[in-house]
Amino acid sequence: MREQIMNHTLSTVQIKPASRVPEFLRKKKRWNEILIQGFLFFCGFVSILTTIGIVFELGKESLLFFANPDVSLLEFFTNTRWQPSIGEFGILPLATSTLLTTLIAMIVALPVGLSAAIFLSEYASSKARSVLKPILEILAGVPTVVYGYFALTFMTPVLRGIFGEQNVEIYNTLSAGLVMGIMILPLVSSMSEDALTAVPRSLREAAYGLGSTRLETAVQIVVPAALSGIIAAFIIAISRAIGETMIVAIAAGSGSNFTFNPFKAAETMTGYIARISGGDVGYDTPDYNSIFAIGLVLFLVTLGLNILSRRLSAKYREVYE
């Protein structure tokens, strides 16, 4: 029947050949719009330049480092000693202490941070939340040099008081790791809380509607639904811990040490970079080139974590309408 109408009308309406678009519809060239768009694109492109800069600089100097006949890639990843000035080029001691501090930090930050997030999003009244959240965010805003200072002047003495001076060295990875965990905690709780609050209320209502308690709803329904955001928070926390510099530079010690004992001093990758670049080493020495090689490793690791984070959170993301 529709066909009918159309055939009917088509034959009656004259279709003009639209050769030229009339003035009131014709396209205008708007130069300012084009220029602005160009500028804006450039702004976006700066980030690409930054990445290229990072990769290029780190890569270039790392090449110099690996071009050194004393350095072999195999040795770099397997040797357990790191003393570039005397030809010991094993990243392991730096890597293990980075691992150790990160691990300790995560043991603190992840469970406590997630618990706090659950409390804020599922239990706290909106009033309590509006007070508690900013306070936690202050904790996140404190510069890391302050945390480093806190680790050295407060946490270490406390640890030595607990475990005994003879057991805990003055510089130790435990203190640095714990304080790093404290520093990262608000990041975990804040991001996880965002993820939890983003879970639609309808899901909670569905759970309560089945006669579940608050705990069951929170842990069995809301947390799994927010998993993608929580995983992202966790991984970002890990990469923050790996990249954190000042706390370990101040409190973890300043000599590479291949150990898994958290009471001992051990220098992390970032700590090493900070110390060497703090001025004690000349350009074009193996030490100097080595900070770029370590920087490259650091960059690749955090990049990998970023990508992993996005992959995982995409995998666990649920789309609610």
Binding site: C43, I48, G53, L132, G141, L215, L298, F299, L303
Partner: protein, 410 residues
């Protein structure tokens, strides 16, 4: 009917257990939150604890050795004579140039003699907790160890501390140069990062078609946000300090400076560092502008830029500013990149241009924690308080600004 008489579920042991679990975990969650907040309190208390406390002062020259009568009773002429006798001629001239001796009151001169000649110096210091709890022991010990010393309560955080420049003597050191250094760096950072960041955010949110290059840009920005700050330090060192040292050091202006360890390099490095954070925040703010507003504008025949400039940006501004201020707070506290870019450990002059060498508050704190004398630990704590106050006021400012703008819009 019977089963409904028990809506309270008292006979249902399973339900009771569930409620019990619920309570236990509630306590755990609550405790976690509380723990975080208690730690914050401990952190701040432990810093306050070191920024105040008793000190033992000892005079470099005992007043009795300068004059037989107490200084307060001397005439201005006598005091000036004492100064002339005890100071180097250059020092004497310098003070006179600041303000002629003859123009100073007698009380001022007494202070001057004390500061320049008697020079009481801190020989021992105690933390606040010890000062309060063990005051008597401290007094006794001080009396025994420093017979000529005297004990007084000292706030390491004081007005002079903020207005003085650096010194190798802790009680004479201040953070003025560092504050100015930080402010200059932030200025450069903001001038560079704000327009670029907002521009990039507008581009990505409003212009970018979903093609390959734009996807790469977006992914890249997300990735950069996770790159450790020390890597930016390495980048800054390699590019701004060394590669472009001729420009960032002002060499191209004929300043004669070589090397790029300047405010400009530090500011640019920080700008790159906060750029991704700023862009992501700004994107969120722009995204939060309701589509209806854009549609209203386009529906009237507005062009893209008119829509963005007149409607999207004003509405997104509070969010963008909040994000910017948060990014700035991050930049103010960053230490590692500045170490790499080459902050100075000792510098006596406030920076005067972007080509000045610099130090910054966190660098100062870091340096002081590495000095041997205990008193440097005290002023490091005082400097931390200054930094925290600065950060808190910035955040408060962000909140105020956000409220103001939100009010204006609604």
């Amino acid at each position: 009917m019977n089963e409904y008489t028990d809506l309270a579920g008292e006979s249902n042991t399973n339900l009771q257990k569930r409620h019990r679990d619920s309570k236990i975990w509630r306590t755990i969650f609550y405790a976690s939150t509380a723990a975080a907040i208690i730690i914050l309190a401990i952190l701040i208390l432990s810093i306050v604890n070191q920024a105040f406390g008793l000190v033992v002062l000892k005079n470099t020259v005992e007043p009795e050795k300068i004059s037989s009568v107490p200084l307060e009773q001397l005439s201005s002429q006598d005091l000036i004579k004492i100064l002339k006798k005890n100071l180097t001629s250059n020092r004497y001239k310098t003070i006179d140039r600041d303000m002629p001796f003859t123009a100073r009151s007698q009380a001022d001169l007494v202070d001057l003699v004390i500061a320049e000649v008697v020079k009481p110096t801190v020989v021992d210091s105690y933390h606040l907790d010890v000062s309060i709890l063990h005051r008597n022991e401290i007094m006794a010990r001080a009396a025994e160890k420093y017979p000529n010393g005297h004990v007084e309560f000292h706030s390491w955080l004081n007005p002079e501390f903020i207005t003085r420049s650096m010194s190798s003597t802790p009680e004479l050191a201040g953070v003025r140069t560092a504050i100015f250094g930080s402010l200059w760096i932030i200025l450069i950072t903001v001038l560079v990062a704000f327009p670029t960041g907002v521009g990039a955010a507008i581009y990505l949110e409003e212009y970018a078609a979903s093609n390959r290059i734009n996807k790469i840009i977006q992914t890249n920005i997300d990735n950069l946000a996770g790159v450790p700050s020390i890597i930016y330090g390495i980048l800054g060192l390699a590019i701004f300090v060394r590669g472009l040292g001729y420009f960032t050091g002002g060499g191209f202006l004929g300043s004669g400076e070589t090397g790029g360890r300047t405010i400009l390099s530090a500011g640019l490095t920080m700008a790159l560092l906060i750029l991704p954070i700023l862009i992501i925040n700004a994107q969120e703010a722009i995204r939060a502008v309701p589509r209806s507003l854009r549609e209203a504008s386009y529906g009237l025949g507005a062009t893209k830029w008119q829509t963005i400039w007149h409607h999207v940006l004003p509405s997104a501004l509070p969010g963008i500013l909040t994000g910017t201020i948060l990014a700035i707070s991050r930049a103010i506290g960053e230490t590692a990149p500045l170490i790499l870019v080459g902050a100075s450990s000792f510098i006596n002059r406030d920076p005067s241009s972007v080509f000045s060498r610099f130090t910054a508050l966190p660098i100062q704190i870091y340096n002081w924690t590495t000095r041997p004398q205990d008193e440097f630990r005290n002023i490091a704590a005082a400097a931390i308080l200054v930094l925290l106050v600065l950060l808190l006021s910035l955040n408060a400012f962000a909140i105020l600004m956000r409220n103001r703008f939100t009010r204006r819009i609604s």
